[in-house]
Amino acid sequence: MTRRLRWFAAAAVAAAIAGPWAGSALAQQKVLKFIPQADLRILDPIATTAYITRNHGYMVYDTLFAIDDKFQVKPQMVGKHEVSKDGLTYTFTLRDGLKFHDGAPVKSADCIASIDRWSKRDALGQKLAEATESWTAVDDKTFRLKLKKPFPLALDALAKPSSNVPFIMPERIAKTDPFKNIDDPTGSGPFKMVKAEWVPGNKVVYVKNNDYVPRKEPPSWASGGKVAKVDRVEWIYIPDSATAAAAMNAGEADIWEQVPPDLIPLLAKNKQITVKNNDPLGSMGMIRFNFLHPPFNNEKMRQALFYAVNQQDYVIGIAGDPKNGKPCYSYFTCGTPLSSEVSAEPLKGKRDLDKAKQLVKESGYKGEKVVIIDATDQPIVHSQSLLTLENLKKIGVNAEIQAGDWGTLITRRAVKEPIDKGGWNIFHTWLVGPDMVNPAVNFPIRGTGEKAWFGWPTDAKMEELREAWFNAKDAAESKKAADAVQKRAFEFVPIIPTGQFILPTAFRSNISGLIIAPINLLWNVEKK
């Protein structure tokens, strides 16, 4: 080999080693690296209520309306709208310049098909559908909703902030059966998903949608101007929390959506990292009963547990530090307009085990075994399960935990049989604040029997009170009706709230513009 040939060979090897990225366009881009709360597996925010899919939805889709930080409904894709004097006809006109990621303009037909699909899966959407006579396209940008009866929450429904969110999709996709999982992420939102780079269990890539026309108003929750200030967002799923913390410390990630309580002190030591609560509503933990079988088919048994539950214990169990949570003696998310402590006496104040034992006795409990189904891979579920087991034992209930993973729990909780045939008595879960703000979205309080959430309570009175809330004509009436719902909930005990907690967000010092909202929204975020 001549000397020149050797130099050439060495240069070729060096080029191969350096790789195609050296000096590439990607290196010049602003890339935001975000560690999400979970792995994105499902792209369809209508087919599932999973929060990670909802968050993906906010990246790629837009909504007709959105709620701001004062709980006011604001137009988003809609430019102007009119409501007839009788409150039965809503006319919506889309803003100029709205386009899907495939370049097609957003049309009325897309909006109607999207709302139709959403209303077949979402409880509030179903309620809107019940009141709806028709949706019609006036022209490509204008469409009309005609109601059979007044439905004061029509715009609130279209602005629903949490799962299922009424995202707008192209008509060709929105025509899909709502029980079939779509896999085309074409939306009209501020980011576009790069599906070719999606590695489930590892990485999701979004790029800025240069065609997106943001509103002029400043961002406020999911309303206002959605200005993408980075070129590319990479969601890096890191299943091990210690590794995620190390990645933040090493600067391999910019934002960590939810930091587990035990790792907060570790990150707080790093001056380049801020750990902050960006979620004004937090999440609400809960104990759910099975109403089909003894002993919790008895109201007094459920009420007994009220007197044993100390929310502060649950908050510490879940959030680690009392600063990351607080008791919330309400069936509606504390800090929101309808929350109150009406009838909450059994749950607050000094715990009264004697009263609890007396109620257990009055219920006629005969020492039947109580099965708590637990998911040890979900710390929020597991910590609550252990505390409830202890509380039940304190009041003389023969309880045991049957542990498995989350997949097993949510399969088993659908079993309606008694515990000797694979059934259950109690499970725990949590919902984000927006999912419990009012009787419309707060599905655990529903009493529709077989059609209700797992546990299947039947409570006609609750359904009546909920209906009355829907018919409230103003804020004062709404509050009064919500208080009545809460009073009934404290009698009937569909769930026991176990407190309000937050899992704070960590971000590096070169990151700014994070929106304070109950959902981690990545528009407006800048990286220096």
């Binding site: 191969a16 080693i17 350096a18 790789g19 195609p20 990225w21 050296a22 792995d39 597996r41 499902i42 792209l43 087919a47 599932t48 209520t49 999973a50 899919t53 899966r121 799962s163 059966d177 029980f179 079939k180 999982n181 779509i182 896999d183 590695v199 489930p200 269990g201 590892n202 990485k203 890096i236 799923y237 890191i238 299943p239 091990d240 210690a242 590794t243 190390a246 990645a247 410390n249 090493a250 391999e252 891979d377 993973d405 989350w406 997949g407 097993t408 949510i410 399969t411 088993r412 659908a414 309606k416 879960t429 919902l431 999912d435 599905f443 077989e450 059609k451 209700a452 959430w453 797992f454």
Partner: protein, 298 residues
């Protein structure tokens, strides 16, 4: 393979768990789940589902993930490169370190060198992979800032980045294999070194290195190759802990995630791939015996 296919399908059919419930989300109702089950065909009888799966398999189609809607072949394809890269690097490190250690320990049997190698070997077996992984991350990524904490960089994006992402996981995972292969090499070498032909070679005046490498090690290679072969199969089968700690998107994590979510098509596809890999690796190991020991014929 056919037996594996049937047994896996049957086990998944009998295993509790419902992907429809997981897909629907926490807020779904029983009715939602029932309708999703119908759409996914999860209520169909066993023979129908197995027949459909076999038919697709016969056409080279491993099915589609229930959750991502991506073909199982694509999902395995995304994960195979990190897994093979980790396997390759781990084995290179293990063999390069363990075989010389085992040979030296055998050659100096009973001395402090031998005891030191065995102590290292016991240590390698005893330290849990995740503990070592965290120590490596803390030292080399956080404190020294030499190597990345996590993730994988495909080889097409540059060999240097590819190697940088694999150094720590390969060391963490390779420690166990170093311990295993070093012990196996030592034992096999001690056995061979006691043979008459080794004494003859020494008596002929051959250099000690030539006796050790040319005569003893080659004849001790059969059990060592067997251990390495088992190691390859185990590594391809999934180094779950290492992949999880270093956030490597390998086959192991794909399998565990699929099991946790009851994503049946992925589980079936991956298990079938594992069984094929085991068969091929065992075949390759068996054939390698002929190279190391010409007396072996099939």
């Amino acid at each position: 393979m056919a037996v594996v296919a049937f047994v896996v399908f049957l086990l998944l059919y009998l295993t509790p768990g419902d992907p429809a419930a997981i897909l629907a989300g926490d807020a779904a109702t029983s009715d939602d789940i029932r309708r999703i089950r119908e759409k996914l065909g999860l209520d169909d009888p066993f023979h129908e589902r197995f027949g459909q799966w076999l038919w697709r398999l016969a056409h080279g189609d491993l099915g589609t993930s229930i959750f991502t809607n991506l073909p199982v072949t694509q999902l395995i394809g995304q994960r195979i490169e990190p897994t093979l890269s980790l396997t390759f690097c781990t084995l290179v490190i293990s063999v390069l370190v363990a075989v010389p250690l085992g040979v030296v320990a055998a050659a100096r049997a009973g001395t402090w060198v031998d005891r030191a190698v065995m102590a290292i070997s016991v240590g390698g077996f005893s330290i849990p992979v995740f503990v070592l992984a965290y120590v490596l991350i803390y030292t080399f990524s956080i404190e020294l800032e030499w190597l990345p904490v996590q993730g994988y960089s495909p080889i097409r994006e540059g060999v240097v980045q590819w190697a940088r992402h694999l150094v720590l996981p390969s060391i963490a995972l390779g420690t166990v294999y170093i311990a295993l292969i070093a012990r196996m090499t030592r034992a096999a070498m001690l056995d061979v070194l006691a043979q008459d032909y080794v004494r003859t070679a020494q008596a002929k005046g051959l250099a000690p290195g030539e006796v050790l490498i040319g005569h003893a090690l080659k004849n001790a290679a059969v059990p060592i190759a067997t251990v390495i072969g088992i190691g390859i199969a185990l590594l391809i089968g999934g180094a779950i802990v290492t992949e999880t700690v270093f956030a490597l998107p390998g086959i192991g994590r794909l399998t565990v995630d699929a099991i946790l979510r009851r994503d049946y098509p992925i589980i079936q596809g991956v298990v079938l791939m594992f069984s094929a890999a085991y068969v091929l690796i065992n075949l390759a190991v068996d054939l390698s015996y002929m190279f190391f020991d010409p007396r072996i014929r099939y």
